[in-house]
């Protein structure tokens, strides 16, 4: 019965969100604030209904209720409990449920943010949010209903794809969705502002924490997905420029631009019209990502067989929201009051540069992702746009942006002094140059790009450090410390996030030095990658809970001294007749030795692929530092003044979010 009640709760949530959508419109036509205030209980009730519904679905998964089709298709009574729970969103229907749950959660938190958001703006925002919720609820109920029942119930379920039975995948999608969906609030705020025809610095301040929270989640979510691909796919790559990866990168780029442009708007009341557009575009890109993943239009390595009606439905949603919001923008934006202008050399100017480069980079990713699709539908010619394209377009746009970052931090608002800023940054620049030169000298003859990238990363980190030092510098050391402690948390957050970018840049640059070796080894055979030598001690069979595994036992030596053991394997899941590679990882500092195993030949030789990946963990650690910086900014006093309910509430509800740790294996 619980399942049917959950199903009914979902239908009730649809009805509630329709009411929540209609009331603000009615209110603005009649000017009656009471009608407007209905949105608050409506948003809360919608959230409760969806949460209950999601709980009912989880219950069905946990108790292996095979009268629910969704459970049959994605679960198995023998599965460990954690994968029974993560299996709830490890499939299309369940992940859409998670999507609306987060959507409603954000709506509920906005409804509770009593003091920080003007009531009219809040009501209109909730109305727009309700429209999005209603449409996605319709999508779930009509095309992807997770509560479809089977009678009689099958005896056993078909089990979750073994690849999805991984702790990384248990938390990656919720984080990513918190990011994707978080931008829906920013979008709703933008539409509400357009409807009201009123936008100002207070709007920017109301929007900023949401943008920042969504951005943090998206950052960690993307990093998590990247690390998962790295250790699970056996290729040793950490980014594939795969369309689905691009789908999450585009909202991130636009969202990063938005985080920065709302600062300009809040502080200087400028860039209003652009910020609104950016808010619309960011969520549109999130929706586009959903469409690309769910409709199967792209030949992505991520996209599985999908149902065309779903694709059509999501395309409809896409056209409705993106087309509708852009039309509204074209109609209403000219009526918004323009903000002030500013000198090109100023912090605002630097932030405009940031926005410009980020948007251009985002546009190149968009072109690279959609061009094959457009070409195929127009000419029937099939092409693939891969890493070379993005390396040639994205990287040249990212590098100047990174060069501007420390300048932007140190320039003053309104009118900055470039000479003074350069002087402040000179120390950092000099040290970074030395670092790069040392790196070149040490790795003489190696790729030149890597040391330059390391230098760039060092420059970014030093820029962040110098920023704090300059702002805190006092007459005595003690005074400086006290001043540093007194700096607003947003200043610390900014510095931390920018340093995180530097850390990631160093990690990426160092990958030019990664070494790969491949051989079919007999027992006792050796394979060298960089400073490390792997010795194949033997190949052992092993039995797991629901698979058999062939494990290669490798000893890793450095200069003849054993430093560790690697056990890459190949698992065979008999119930699904499917084999999966498990990479072996040995972490040494922030570098890793990585091995994957191939076929075992008839002569007992085993195909082994060995990588030495220097500093590779920095790529994801940097992303975590970025998100921590964002989180620190969120706790800044400014966001809390008069807004007790506006603490980073989304995080509380997200459950155990490992902001500081990417799982080690």
């Amino acid at each position: 019965m619980l399942i049917e009640v959950g199903h009914y709760a979902l239908a009730l949530a649809l009805a509630l969100s329709l009411t929540q959508m209609v009331m603000p419109i009615w209110a603005s036509r009649t000017g009656d604030p009471v009608l407007r205030s209905v949105t608050v209980p409506a948003a809360l009730a919608t959230f409760l209904c969806i949460a209950f519904s999601f709980g009912a679905l989880t219950y069905a998964h946990v108790t292996s209720d095979f009268s629910v089709q969704n459970v049959v298709e994605n679960s198995h009574s023998m599965k460990p409990l954690i994968y029974k729970i993560s299996g709830v969103w490890g499939n299309h229907e369940g992940s859409m449920m998670l999507w609306v749950l987060i959507l409603a959660l954000f709506g509920a938190v906005v409804a509770l943010a009593r003091n920080s958001v003007p009531p009219t703006l809040r009501a209109n925002t909730l109305g727009v949010q309700a429209a999005i919720t209603a449409v996605f609820l319709l999508f779930i109920l009509i095309t992807s209903n997770p509560f479809t029942r089977l009678n009689p119930a099958p005896i056993e379920g078909r089990d979750l794809n073994p690849l999805l039975q991984d702790p990384g995948l248990a938390i990656h999608p919720p984080l990513l969705y918190l990011g994707y969906v978080g931008f829906s609030i920013t979008f709703a705020f933008a539409i509400a502002a357009l409807i009201e025809g009123r936008i100002d610095a207070a709007w920017a301040r109301a929007v900023r924490p949401w943008t920042l929270a969504a951005w943090c989640f998206l950052t960690v979510g993307i990093a998590m997905g990247s690390y998962w691909a790295y250790y699970e796919l056996g290729w040793g790559g950490w980014w594939f420029w795969d369309p689905v990866e691009n789908a999450s990168l585009m909202p991130w780029l636009a969202g990063t631009a938005l985080v920065h442009s709302t600062v300009v708007m809040e502080k200087r009341d400028a860039l209003k019209v652009w910020t609104v557009l950016l808010a619309i575009l960011t969520f549109s890109l999130s929706l586009l990502g959903t469409f690309l993943v769910r409709s199967g239009v792209l030949t992505s390595v991520h996209t599985f067989a999908t149902d065309p009606t779903r694709g059509t439905f999501i395309l409809g949603i896409l056209v409705l929201f993106i087309g509708g919001s852009l039309a509204l923008y074209a109609w209403r934006a000219p009526t918004l009051r323009q903000g002030g202008l500013f000198a090109p050399i100023s912090r605002e100017g630097a932030l405009v540069m940031n926005n410009l480069f980020l948007s251009a980079a985002c546009a190149t990713v968009l072109v690279g992702t959609l061009y094959p699709l457009a070409l195929e539908s127009l000419t029937g010619e099939k092409i693939s746009v891969g890493a070379p394209f993005f390396n040639l377009t994205f990287v040249p746009l990212a590098v100047p942006l990174l060069l501007v970052v420390p300048f932007g931090q140190t320039l003053a608002w309104k009118r900055g002094d470039l000479a003074a800023a350069s002087q402040r940054l000179f120390v950092g620049f000099a040290i970074a140059l030395v670092v790069a030169l040392v790196a070149i000298a040490v790795t003489w003859g190696g790729p030149v790009g890597a040391p330059l990238g390391i230098g760039l990363g060092a420059y970014l980190i030093l820029g962040a450090v110098l920023e704090i030092v300059t702002r805190a510098r006092g007459k005595t050391f003690g005074l400086s410390l006290r001043r540093a402690a007194g700096l607003p948390r947003s200043a610390w957050g900014t510095a931390l996030a920018h340093a995180g970018v530097g850390v990631t840049v160093i990690g990426i640059a160092a990958q030019a030095w990664s070494v790969e070796a491949l051989a079919t080894l007999p027992r006792g055979g050796e394979l060298r990658a960089g400073p490390y030598v792997a010795v194949l001690e033997g190949v052992l069979p092993r039995t797991g809970p629901n698979y058999t595994e062939t494990v290669a036992h490798l000893t890793i030596r450095e200069g003849g001294v054993p430093v560790g053991v690697l056990e890459p394997g190949k698992r065979f899941y008999a119930s699904r007749n499917m084999s999966v590679s498990e990479a072996g990882l040995l972490t040494i500092g922030v570098s890793q030795v990585y091995a994957s195993v191939g076929e075992t030949g008839t002569d007992g030789r085993v195909g082994i692929r060995l990588y030495y990946k220097p500093l590779v963990l920095l790529i994801w650690l940097g992303a975590v530092v970025m998100a921590l910086g964002g989180g620190l900014s969120l706790t800044d006093r400014r966001f809390r003044v008069g807004a007790p309910a506006l603490k980073p509430a989304p995080r509380d509800a997200a459950g155990p979010v490992p902001l500081h740790s990417v799982p080690a294996e």
């Binding site: 239908a11 009471v34 209905v38 056993e156 207070a202 009118r415």
Partner: protein, 380 residues
């Protein structure tokens, strides 16, 4: 099942109450905070901004003239924000009351209507939850321990996936409960581990045939041929191979196979009537409906399943179209199920769908000719 409707009513009631609650408050009180709240938020914001400018200036982040200008700007905006009137003309009076009543009526009617309508379309209120533990207990107590046994074997196989006998036991059970794909995999596993065996191969072929809408695929045929190699007298492979020949349009071969079976059969063999029916069908002396897709041991359940699959294909083709091969397959499937009128109708549909393109239509026409369908072109 009234309890569930009571719960639904309760939920709906609570939801509507939550919506009505703000409207029930006294309008004069409810009206006031709006304007004030906005002004309070905004003025608070600009005051805060002024303080921040002071802080920045003190830290030397903002030059004195710039800070002065910024201060003036923020102060100007603060003034503007506090001057703007909180306009809520519609908050009081008789029309407001009437409007609120209308809104209440709207919420009262829309929420239950939409929820019940949507749930009515997609829900199944009569179906109780069937958590696995409960179903297992039920199965055990009812003496029907098939389900429990399957679960036990599955649990065992999860731990020891190389136990071929386990798979061999499980496979026919899967087939009986309609999990054809699982049955095929179980057969494959048992064959892989235990090696070829006539009965198992024949059952495997049968499972493949069941999965293929009753059409004996080349993979199934391969299995039957291997089975026959193990045991040349086995009945099931012989029958299905005859059927395969029949489906391929090789009437002579099919007839000779059926005839051989008939000749070698003991007179009381339960499958003999089926072979005779098939022979009669080939000779055109009996209506095709007499032998609707019955294989030896093909249960009622399986036939229902096959029918389900065929209907799925039919629906898809009708809605979205398909390749000529798929149309041909559908026509053939109906004939296998013994539904000649439907096969004719499908042929007409296929001709309409594929249009006048002779090349495209050819595979369908081949099937039609071979099955003696489509009067116009079926002249032998």
């Amino acid at each position: 099942m009234t309890a569930i409707w009571l719960i639904f009513a309760l939920m709906t009631g609570l939801a509507v109450l939550a919506l009505l609650w703000p409207m029930s408050r006294r309008p004069a009180l409810a009206g006031l905070p709006e304007g004030e709240a906005r002004i309070a938020t905004e003025t608070g914001f600009y005051r805060d901004q002024l303080r921040e400018i002071d802080r920045d200036a003190a830290r030397g982040l903002l030059a004195a003239p710039e800070a002065e200008a910024a201060r003036a700007e923020a102060a100007r905006r603060l003034l503007r924000a506090s001057r703007e009137p909180g306009r809520n003309p519609g908050a009081v009076g008789e029309p407001a009351l009437r409007r609120r009543r209308a809104a209440s009526a709207f919420a009262l009617s829309t929420v239950p209507l939409v929820a019940l309508l949507v749930y009515g379309i997609y829900g199944s209120p009569d179906l109780p939850a069937q958590p696995q533990a409960e179903r297992l207990a039920h199965a055990r107590s009812a003496g029907n321990d098939l389900a429990a046994a399957v679960t036990q074997i599955e649990a065992h196989l999860a731990k020891a996936p190389e136990d071929g006998r386990g798979w061999a036991v499980l496979a026919p059970v899967y087939l009986r409960v309609g999990r054809v794909e699982d049955a095929i995999k179980a057969y494959e596993n048992s064959l892989r581990i235990l090696g070829d065996d006539a009965t198992r191969l024949a059952d495997y072929g049968e499972a493949l045939t069941a999965a293929g809408d009753g059409v004996v695929s080349s993979k199934a045929r391969d299995a039957f041929e291997r089975a026959l190699k193990q045991d040349p007298k086995a009945v099931k492979p012989q029958f299905y191979l005859a059927r395969a020949a029949e489906q391929d349009g090789d009437r002579a071969q099919a007839r000779s196979r059926y005839a051989a079976m008939e000749a070698a059969a003991p007179p009381d063999a339960p499958w003999l009537p089926m072979v005779r029916d098939s022979l009669a069908r080939l000779d055109g002396t009996a209506p095709a409906a007499a032998a609707p897709g019955k294989g030896p041991g093909m249960s009622e359940e399986q036939r229902g399943m096959i029918r389900g699959m065929v209907e799925g294909l039919a629906q898809r083709l009708a809605e979205k179209g398909g390749s000529p091969e798929e149309w041909g397959r559908l026509v053939r499937s109906y004939m296998v199920l013994g539904d000649r009128p439907k096969a004719e109708a499908t042929l007409a549909q296929a001709r309409a769908a594929l249009g006048s393109d002779a090349g495209k239509l050819a595979p369908v026409e081949d099937v039609a000719q071979e099955l003696g369908l489509g009067a116009a072109k079926a002249a032998p």
